[in-house]
Symmetry: D3
């Protein structure tokens, strides 16, 4: 964990959220001073705002707007959502922490806030999901469409997503209507949580807490990926994966086999260990 | 099939097309009434237009424009294409039906018309393809580039595509220059119909009617995917797949084996059954 | 090689670069004459400019701008970069040649310059990389973010990339912070050069000269893909691949086996031969 | 007075304001139904908003924004101003009434709200004036500049303006820093309330209640235009004009002469009678 | 008259219109060749279009659009108007000729078409007037508002305007609802054809054929400016001006006096002679 | 003169120019700190630039751009002009000083640089004039048109304008093709320097050094306004005005009469004294 960070599971959430926002402003101020060419951008997106919610609403409104869905309309929509549901802010802070702690390429909170398409897509999704739950579905779907166009991240507004999520790189992620994602999950780019046919109903994967899903993995159907499980990059998973086990390959096999899958102890969604299972994967080199 | 829909293969196409357009307007009117924040968008994209072609031309012109390719220019281009080639409209209607009938997440025709990047990319491609056939290649390629930037869907303007196509989710789809796609095909996101080298000529896959291609499948070379065949998610296919058979895996194997591939009866491009072949895939769990 | 092209490895680089720029202008002039609807675009992007650098700076500035990062700011940034580091221009010319020579769908240099998102993303990356090396990291990361949004190509600004690179189709490419790509490499879409965990340090692949990486391949960790090697489409590679050998499958195996991998002679990054190894891949059809 | 209007000086301001907003929505709804091409505009500017303040803030934000002063920033600014100072709303309503009652070309309240540049410039000025009084002068002046560019109406943010103001046509109006305008004043286009030199201090005209100033009149210096006075079109006024008298000509003379200026009884700022003084102007035709 | 121009009152209007359009394209082609920086602009506005109507519709659509009234909507509106009423085209051609022949600063037809705000405002007004006559008043007034914002030219959509009109410089022109302007009239900037009070009905000036109105003249009330009359710059006119006479001053007097106004012979709206009456204006120098 | 300003006619121009630019940056920095909502604007327009020329080029490029004349093109044009002709910069500095010293409402140099439409229109005109002298007339006229649209200031690109010019308020200013304006001239809004007919050739006023022209004055024909002369607001001037005399009225008379015009001593273009001549204007009040 980077030096000087407070504990993640702070019991005083609002202090923690204030701390993160203060960090973001300090980072942006430092960057604006060192790089005048970027100062205008940093002031408009961060430094002119009085709260993380306003900054995010402004940034998302300007990123997601189009000639037929104006930035002012979207800005309003985001502001209203953030003020009506405080859990959106705490989820955003948890996601910022997730990126900062798990992704070594994430150099600062403001870096994530401004530049991570996975982070931005996820926050916009949370607002679309709120609209969906409020039965404002045409608006939720219009927002969904803008997120899919702008970030190439396609999360159905009905999908339920926990906190502390890292969508790393994020391009090409697809999450279906009845998918559920737990807390502290890390999902790489090109990952699909898809359905299995044209029948409606509950048809998408359920991802447990602390799961890590590698780049390009395709997980299909109403199956369970147990808590703390890992899915290897490029895997195609069509069956349940037990907790704290690893599934790899196309079609995915459990490392150690179905009968005695080898367990790992940590929380891969947080440790981001993609490849330590290689030695156990006996036939890797033919 | 959702209640109240007329038969798909209506012999009176124009009545059918009119019916779909009437549905779209009715849906948009209902949504505008229930959601004032979205009404402006629905009026500009649908309710102010006198026909599906004009609505689509407006929507695509505004989606695909850039600071150097103005919306008015693109709008004109689309309007002219739709009025010179009525088959573009009937193909659009067939694609709308395909989404509505095969994708349980598609809640209405207007939802598809406005929000499905696969649908919109496909309609824009049809216009690029018309330009290509008219030997207006630089314009076709400029349009191709805009589609690839805006929707992350990269279909070469020379590629020939049938009707009743569902590009579901669509992000990352790549279809090469000499590819051919039949009617009633369903293609998930991240699917590649690619070439095999730097030699020119006929070098991309030929996809038969009714085929279903799962997410992330890569099909390379001038090979045939026979009618009614299925290609599993994440498969890498380098050889012909016979009609009504299933190919899965990397590299793809035919379910049942090359000598006696097990046949299935339905039209997977329409049934969208991705996973029922699992039980036949004997070594799925090791 | 198309008729009339001068030798690739011209010892007089500046003549060669001038020749390519002259070709681009001639192509654009021809296209503007034959297609008035596109003439405005061709004049603004190519014909009004006095050099390739100015044309590229204008085009990238207009493509990558947003409401909070103005085109004038980006244009300035690109112009300054090109004038301070002439190697950016020669790399751009080498990349244009790579597309023209290796991709049969590339009909002209101007086609690549205007329309290839892989080409454009790569040139913008080179500028982001220059900023990174100058310790202007917040600006480099902001540019990185715009490239990832607009082109769905996510190359960390610290990644080092050689010349003569073809990112074909390019959507979904992810290249991590400590990755290195040699010269004359061809990389298809959806390719990942990724890391292996949350530890920092040197953790991404090193790709040798002349390598060809097929669509959807995922290469993870600080491993070496030797010069002239091939990685098959959809492969997941977690170990070194020796020079002039081929890795295929998920997990990737060396064709011929680890002990006696069969060598090929040519430079696949240039020949773009994706599939000739099929006959050697003995268990391809089960 | 148009049939069915409630009394102007309603003692219950909030009811009155609610009535005007209800009228505006009813008008917009009627127009949206009769003119689908305009419906999108009417929904985005009026029908999607829950209050006059939000509608005005949205409309002004979109009218006054530029590539360096974003609509979201201005929208926020206007919303905050309207919510912090309710007199802005009542002044807007009084101005809407002024246009509706005095200008026969004003067909509806919504017509004024959407289309009258004088009305819009005046409301934006009120916000700039609020900022000025809050010592946020650089922001007030930036807003002033946008109003002057977009509407060609140049009112210094320090100028104090009453309620029930009609700036008719408005193009070219210039109002200096220390000018004061009373209530129920009507000012035509090209009117200048200017200073007299480079000395600072109180140097601009003071316009009494109920004054009517004709097109192109130029009023210079710290002089008083008494209540209910009229200034003829094209007049150049450099001295005080007594209450309920008329000044015409260049240089302006009082009708009836300085010693016994002929009085008129009504409130010309409300009656808008520009020309009934002709018969008294003895030398009009030479 | 510039050498080589055909007669103005050509009896074969359509040939004449074709000739003007051909001139415009030839001029634009010449300018595009000599000035590459402008070529993109010239192609998009003129050279890519097949007719004057399409060129004008495109140019006006892009000039008058806003974030809430999209260019595609306006373009459509203009195209439909031009195709439904061919007199709009012939009026535009007559106005182009008027500028070319009367304004020595008008160097070419394309100069007027692209750059003259008076010309552009007048053509857009004609379309607003057509909408007004079709009882599409809210749309007519919205267009009126855009013209007033963008060009600072405020012509009520109900005002009737003849052909061969030159609005020279045009900024600040105001033309009221019941004003009528004849043919071959020239009107300088800041001219007001205004009303006289808040009463409705026919209350604005009627301007005869061939009239010339100097800069800053204010003409108020339902009065007649007879054919071939002149109104001096800065005049304020409140009474009828007989044909072929000159009114000057504030208040305006007839040159030669009311009883025996001196007549002039030519058509000042075409000769543009602003000042030859000076010698007759006896008291001009005191 | 405001405290602490160095002498205007500094013999070391470049030091002076550097001083003004340093002031501008200091002002902007102070304002950015006190008003975060404006900081983004101040950084993008001033604080991110290394010189006054770059700041002005950026600001003008963004102000004058349109959908068919892109900001990048205009920015380039301005940058090239400023670097090819250093007198443009010194003229801009002289104009900034003129506003700061003569206009009591001008609170800072940056206020003028950012917000004064007269200042901005004048600097853009100087570039248009440079293009005109380089025989790049179509481009000069296109720029002229944008200035007239955006600022409602219409200065023909051939007009010759000195240094130290204040166009105060500026809306509606019209300056004809053969007009000449000397140094240290102050011109209020709605001023016309116009021609007298449709004949070409030298036909516009020549304004001497140090002249002050009041709001709404109309000066027509190839006449001379002698150095240090004053023209009263609303005057219509058709004859020469001798040096250091005052012309007022419509038609304009010389104060003191033609034979013995009363002289004033100062430089009214700098003192901005509009009205001290009133006492001499004997018949002002009838």
């Amino acid at each position: 964990m980077p030096t000087g960070l407070p504990a993640v599971n702070s019991s005083v959430a609002s202090d923690d959220e204030g701390w993160v926002w203060a960090q973001i402003k300090a980072e942006a101020r430092r960057d604006a001073e060192s790089e005048p060419a970027l100062a205008s951008y940093l002031y408009s997106t961060i430094l002119s705002h009085s709260s993380l919610e306003r900054s995010l609403s402004f940034h998302l409104g300007n990123k997601l707007c189009s000639s037929t869905l104006l930035s002012t309309l979207l800005y309003d929509l985001f502001l209203n959502a953030f003020s009506s549901d405080p859990s959106l802010r705490s989820a955003a802070v948890a996601d910022l922490r997730a990126a900062r702690e798990r992704d070594p390429a994430c150099v600062s909170y403001s870096h994530c806030l401004l530049n991570y398409k996975g982070f931005l897509a996820c926050q916009a999704h949370r607002v679309a999901h709120l609209l969906w739950r409020q039965s404002r579905r045409p608006l939720a779907l219009a927002l969904h469409s803008r997120i899919a166009d702008v970030f190439a991240v396609d999360i159905h507004p009905a999908a339920r997503i926990g906190k502390g999520i890292l969508f790393d790189h994020a391009t090409g992620v697809v999450v279906g209507e009845t998918a559920v994602i737990g807390n502290n999950v890390s999902i790489l780019h090109h990952v699909t949580l898809g359905g299995t046919g044209k029948a409606g109903g509950d048809r998408h994967p359920k991802i447990g807490d602390g799961v890590l899903i590698g780049a390009g993995a395709t997980i299909l159907g109403n199956i369970k990926i147990g808590e703390g499980a890992k899915v290897g990059a490029g895997s195609v998973v069509l069956i349940d994966v037990p907790p704290r086990t690893t599934a790899v390959g196309n079609p995915a096999r459990l490392v150690g086999g179905k009968e005695k899958p080898s367990k790992h102890e940590d929380v891969p969604g947080e440790s981001m260990d993609h490849t330590s299972f290689i030695s156990e994967w006996s036939d890797y080199i033919i």
